[in-house]
Subunit: 109 residues, 2 copies
């Protein structure tokens, strides 16, 4: 399946942020991060992997290094390898981010 | 600049499809491909680079291998390394695709 619809793959849980993989190879992954209001991915970093967050639906606070970015639909944030980063949904609506990472940090095939 | 707005960076030319780089490192690039009606990127391939097309605005025909995908807003198409691929705007409206490639085929820093 080479073509996927983002809205059809988005999935939420009251427990925590959901990650839904769309595509992956050893070179990259493309996931959906689906966050209900108040959910987050804690600040973390990857020594060797670059990451992008594209807000597809809703509004995100994306932290990269010392900066908090208020990110709306159609905006992209870059978290370079080695830089601490994370995302939280501080809004009152669901949030869907398309997340792209290169290379894949743990591809198992 | 770690945060960019896709709509603010989209740029078109009557001459040909425009590529606008948003972010790049040796690990990946993220470009906007901006196509007016009738414009295209010819079928080509990259032996070692995976590519994604995310339609941000408009409608695209994205070819991967032997398959033509009719791709609307909020849909993503994957063109694996080695697979011939291309995109054409056969609609009557402007088209903006977010394109991710990993690794970067020609990073010069």
């Amino acid at each position: 399946m080479n073509r996927k619809n983002i809205a059809e793959h988005a999935a939420f849980s009251a427990d925590k942020m959901q990650k839904v993989n769309l595509f992956e190879t050893p070179k990259f992954f493309c996931d959906l991060y689906c966050l209900q209001p108040g959910q987050d991915q804690k600040i973390h970093s990857h020594a060797d992997n670059d990451k992008l967050y594209l807000v597809q639906k809703g509004r995100a606070k994306v932290t990269v290094g010392d900066t908090d970015h208020d990110v709306g639909e159609g905006e992209i944030v870059f978290a370079p390898a080695g830089e601490p980063h994370g995302v939280i949904n501080e809004s009152s609506a669901d949030l869907v981010c398309v997340v792209f990472m290169a290379p894949h940090p743990s591809f198992k095939g």
